[in-house]
């Protein structure tokens, strides 16, 4: 008989990256056409204190519960000061937010091929900044190195293929270089993106370790679930960032692999991790997902047009540990994994029925037996100014309408159902990061404390974006309080 599997814990990580917003896909494309756009964009980049005080970020890091956010009036970006006593390196119960100086330092420490060069003066600043951080080991500070003379960096930037790196205030702090002259898969922008993913995923895993939720020496496998494409021209997207993250997190006995499924990736990886543990292949599998640098500033145009700051100015990472039953942690119900099969219709209704109703029916449960649903949790303050609406709210209203259609609730109870079993979106619009898993650490807290009995993670993926199929996808999993 398959073993019971639990989610021991989950942690998050945020890096404030206003200086990298220019390398988000949308800003980079627009700036290539209209360089004069930069001053207007730069003027709306938030200082670190504002990013640290921003309520959705505080929810992502566990300092606020999503239900608290529902009570904070919009605009949330109007909250520019953290509560008194909040430290500079904003730490929530679930993770850290680091400033861009520390991010560049961490990325340099993660740079195995000396492709990211920092100026001597900034390297000193990054080392100083990093040495203050509780998660940074002396070895990390050492790996930042002494930096390069500014003239050497200027020389590299004078040649093709190197990208200048800036802080929010426009100060040049270094450059990212390509690793090959003729390989578009190893171009500077691609490597910068992959390095940012590695660092953010790695820091989330290191937070899990630092908080005593994972013992690095005992982790056997690390599944990476991000949407980055690590590889070279012969194997674009070859992958296994999982093992690269395991290395930097000190999981010396682990190997790894990547699980790719667009935004469903993290939920798919949790299912695979659960199956590996249930089958006895491994006892402890970590699931990690790092940032999507390409999505920085993705909807900046709407933000500028409506008086918002550039909301998409953070890179995010997530990590969780899946283990054998410990009698305490929430149970991952592998007998109730919801999937959207090829033959199912692609309408939202069909997807929700496949993901939410069907797996619950298999257990003799109804939608109302789930205390919280975590769907796509995009922060509406990021999406609404660009005309994309409030994605989670629409998802929750459709789930509630499904419950009403099944006579679980009356039509006039839809709003109350949404308020009770849904939550406001709070996640950075970082693709797979925003998909259900930002609630995972909150879910573990609530299920362990028995404030919650059941939580469903429900992810959807836009497979058609890759042009290999017209289909969407979806996957769901159910977490239950451990009855021992």
């Amino acid at each position: 008989m398959a073993r019971r599997v639990v989610v021991r814990g989950a942690r998050t990580f945020l890096a404030h990256a206003p200086g990298l917003v220019r390398y988000g896909s949308k800003p980079a494309r627009d700036l290539a056409r209209h360089e004069d756009l930069w001053p207007a964009l730069a003027a709306r980049l938030r200082p670190f204190a504002a990013a640290a005080a921003y309520p959705p970020h505080r929810v992502f890091l566990g300092a606020l519960h999503p239900d608290d956010l529902a009570r904070i009036p919009r605009p949330w970006f109007g909250v520019e000061r953290a509560p008194a006593g909040a430290p500079d390196d904003a730490r929530g119960p679930h993770g850290y937010l680091v400033p861009e100086e520390a991010l560049y330092g961490l990325m340099k420490a993660d740079d195995e091929f000396d492709l990211l060069w920092l100026t001597e003066s900034f390297a000193a600043q990054a080392r100083a900044r990093l040495s203050l951080h509780p998660l940074a080991e002396p070895a990390d500070v050492e790996r930042v190195g002494q930096g390069k003379p500014e003239r050497a960096i200027a020389a590299r930037l004078g040649e093709p293929g190197a990208l200048p790196l800036f802080l929010r205030d426009g100060r040049l702090v270094g450059c990212m270089q390509r690793a090959h002259e003729e390989d578009p898969s190893l171009a500077a922008d691609v490597l910068l993106e992959n390095l940012a993913t590695k660092t953010t995923a790695g820091m989330a895993l290191r937070t899990l370790v630092a908080d005593g939720l994972a013992e690095p020496a005992t982790v056997e496998y690390v599944l990476n679930a991000g949407e980055e494409a690590v590889g070279d021209r012969y194997q674009r997207g070859g992958g296994n960032l999982g093992k690269a993250v395991a290395e930097r997190a000190g999981c010396l006995d682990a190997s790894g692999a990547d699980v790719k499924a667009f935004c469903c990736g993290p939920v798919a990886a949790l299912v695979v991790a659960g199956a590996l543990v249930a089958a006895g292949v491994f006892d402890r599998v970590a699931v990690v997902a790092g940032a999507s640098l390409a999505k920085l500033g993705m909807k900046y145009h709407g933000h500028l047009a409506t008086g918002h700051p550039v909301i998409e100015d953070v890179l995010a990472g997530i990590a969780a540990l899946v283990t054998r039953d410990d009698g305490r942690s929430p149970v991952l119900r592998l007998d109730a994994v919801g999937r959207h099969p090829v033959a199912a219709a692609g309408s939202q209704q069909a997807i929700l029925e496949a993901l939410a109703v069907k797996p619950l029916e298999g257990l003799g449960l109804r939608l109302g037996d789930v205390d919280k649903f975590a769907t796509e949790l995009h922060n509406p303050e990021a999406t609404e100014p660009a005309g994309s609406g409030d994605v989670p709210r629409l998802n929750y209203r459709m789930l509630a309408a499904l419950a009403a259609g099944r006579k679980e609730i009356a039509r006039d109870e839809i709003e109350a159902w949404v308020a009770a079993r849904g939550m406001p979106g709070f996640a950075p619009t970082q693709g797979h990061i925003a998909s259900a898993v930002p609630f995972l650490a909150h879910a573990v807290d609530g299920l362990v404390a028995r404030r919650l009995r059941r939580v469903m993670l429900l992810a959807k993926g836009s497979l058609f974006l890759g042009r290999m199929t017209q289909m969407s996808d979806g996957l769901s999993l159910l977490l239950e309080a451990n009855e021992g």
Partner: protein, 92 residues
């Protein structure tokens, strides 16, 4: 003709204006391009009536139940009226 499945009045207006007067945000390649295409939303009665009820219910029913269909309809009527007025001005 273009059929929308947009989730709210704001996004409906943005897309509809892009397809009639040109991108109002001046962000994309359709900035300043007057396509003047007729734009409707899938939940508008004149469209809904042309879809077999069982297909409509299976594909759109749940979304229709939770969208502000009245506000979306009014938004698109407004955009179509503007586009119609613009077209008349140009031909006058």
């Amino acid at each position: 003709m273009v059929l929308l499945g947009t989730p709210n009045p704001e996004s409906s207006r943005l897309v509809a204006l892009t397809l009639t007067e040109g991108d109002p945000t001046w962000a994309g390649p359709l900035a300043g391009v007057r396509l003047e295409l007729p734009v409707f939303h899938i939940t508008e009665e004149s469209i809904k009536a042309q879809v077999p009820p069982e297909v409509y219910e299976a594909q759109v029913g749940l979304a229709e139940a939770v969208l502000d269909t009245r506000a979306i309809r009014e938004t698109l009527e407004d955009v179509r009226a503007r586009a119609g007025a613009g077209a008349k001005e140009e031909t006058a």
